[in-house]
Symmetry: C2
Subunit: 347 residues, 2 copies
């Protein structure tokens, strides 16, 4: 039997219950993932299709989620554009050795052929699709142009994002050149993933929220819309997740995506009133709720289901990635609670 609850919910079609998956579900909270990471470093894992597909499928087998997301990292895309990437997972995250600081740096970035420079991702997609054998749909993802630009210019995660903000405030023209290049790269990358077999795509705008609303629309959302326009979706729904951007919910829905991902800063009932008549919603449990007891987790799940209310168009998820030290038993309890408690909203 094929579980296509996730895809039906993305299209706001009727389902028997609310589907559930988790951002970063293939990750360190799983002992089975840590066992593999003990043997290879993070980037090797990303670049070895056999291993990437294995960790992608782990949460499907172990946790019982309704969708599989291909294991990778948003920064393999800038790496394929010519940036030198270092990922030291335990030492403050990924970084680039030579951040983008000038127009000539921007011009040097190439728009890669995803079937060449990122072939290992497409191989992982094909292999995972085969191993899944239709059990659940497969999702591919990419960072938004803005979020990638922030990484490229800062060189790493940042508290104040001085460099990227200086670029947009002092030199918006160059910023637009960079973002356009990234948008075309991301679109080609996602198109290749769709061709390789992913059945849905998600764009992560992790750092949209560092911008004021006007700048968010000009420097982030505009390029997400460009990516969506360049997609040959072939029926694959597109999910847009912008962290800390609840100020622009309608504008996000207007990009032409099928699903808007919500962080936990917005009431999902309010969001449904605003945009739920034309997009599906994904979210939005605070990931730290998973530190509480299974009983409390169930109560919080019920609250979110009740806020969304009856009818289709909700994909349950966390409001951000699952945290590495989350107890596995709680994760299972969370997924089970969604599966059980959501049935009555779909009668």
């Amino acid at each position: 039997m094929i579980n296509d609850l996730f895809l039906r919910a993305c299209k706001r079609e009727a389902t028997e219950r609310t589907p559930v998956w988790m951002m970063r579900q293939a990750g360190r909270y799983l002992p089975e993932y840590r066992a593999i990471r003990a043997k290879v470093d993070f980037l090797t894992l990303c670049k070895t299709p056999e291993l990437a597909s294995e960790v992608s499928i782990q949460p499907v087998d172990i946790i019982g989620v309704d969708a599989c997301i291909i294991f990778s990292d948003i920064l393999v895309v800038p790496e394929a554009m010519g940036m030198k990437l270092f990922i030291e997972e335990d030492k403050g995250g990924p970084r680039f050795e030579d951040p983008i600081r000038s127009r000539s740096d921007i011009d040097r970035l190439k728009v890669p052929d995803p079937n060449h420079e990122l072939k290992y991702v497409m191989d992982a997609v094909r292999l995972t699709k085969k191993k899944l054998d239709g059990r659940v749909p497969l999702i591919g993802f990419a960072g938004s142009p803005w979020t990638l630009a922030a990484y490229l210019v800062e060189g790493k995660g940042s508290k104040n994002f001085r460099a990227i903000k200086e670029l947009i405030y002092s030199n918006p023209k160059d910023a637009h050149v960079l973002l356009d290049k990234l948008a075309r790269t991301v679109a080609a990358y996602l198109n290749a993933k769709i061709e390789a077999g992913v059945q849905a795509v998600q764009i992560f705008d992790t750092w949209g929220g560092i911008l004021p609303p006007d700048e968010f629309r000009e420097f982030s959302l505009r390029y997400i819309a460009q990516v969506l326009k360049l997609l040959r979706r072939n029926g694959a729904p597109a999910i847009v997740f912008c962290k800390d951007c609840a100020h622009s919910l309608e504008a996000i829905a207007d990009t032409g995506c099928d699903v808007v991902g919500l962080d936990w800063s917005i009431d999902i009932g309010k969001a449904r009133m605003m945009i739920g008549s034309y997009t599906a919603l994904q979210g939005n449990l605070d990931p730290t709720v998973l530190y509480a007891s299974p009983e409390h987790i169930r109560e919080e799940v019920k609250k979110i289901l009740e806020k969304f209310g009856k009818g289709p168009g909700h994909i349950f998820n966390l409001g951000h990635g699952i945290l590495p030290d989350t107890p596995v038993e709680n994760v299972k309890a969370f997924v089970q609670a969604v599966k059980e408690e959501s049935v009555k909203y779909h009668r």
Copy 2:
């Protein structure tokens, strides 16, 4: 001549122009501040009234802001409750040696007499008030109960706030005991400051935004409202600034504050439509705009003035504290731009 623009704007009374000050205006971006800090550590500076008053007044003299905020740190309050505080400004910020982790830890916290344990703050207020000699109003501040609780329980700044969130999700009863104790402490502290001479108070809820909206109201806003209720304001307006909490703007205004502080994630025009008929608004330029050129800074100032529109009730400020590496010339250009460009909105 006495400049009371700030106080009149807080009360939404007519002014000739929009007043302006900056959160963290007494700080490292000023060479004159750094010269003093080269001689004493951060906590000594907080605890030496002569020096604290000197750095408090620096931005009034050097930058020309319309209000003076007494130099201090929100964490001197928990220190007075019995916590051992370390502030290493360059090494990841302040921390407590023994974070609050149990009910007995909570019970051990004392509600201090602010005129005793925090007498140095009151001395700094009296001295600063005297030195200011009415040039501009003096503001006193405190951390919100929730933000202080987060520091107490985490022991320091945090990325995921696991410990404090585990407390509220798993043991809300103890969390409420802690927050109530903090609310009474903060109220007594602000009351003592008002008695000592501050003419306005601001409550900083730096970490309200880590909570989903329902939890924000239950664990943060409720205790801000309690503080406000316990204040003997004696005519001093109260400003409430909750970072990343635009989801609850009306609820913040409903606490009974006079002014709602806005971060840069919300359009100030929208905020005025929502709550501007009964509270004044303070904000909300993205602090990183001050890295751009004076011309660009002026353009961004004009945009915010235009969004707020005509009439009283706006105190110009940044959407968060000024960043330590901001060029002083740009800060001066910012304040000058507000002073010049705002006149036409007050005719």
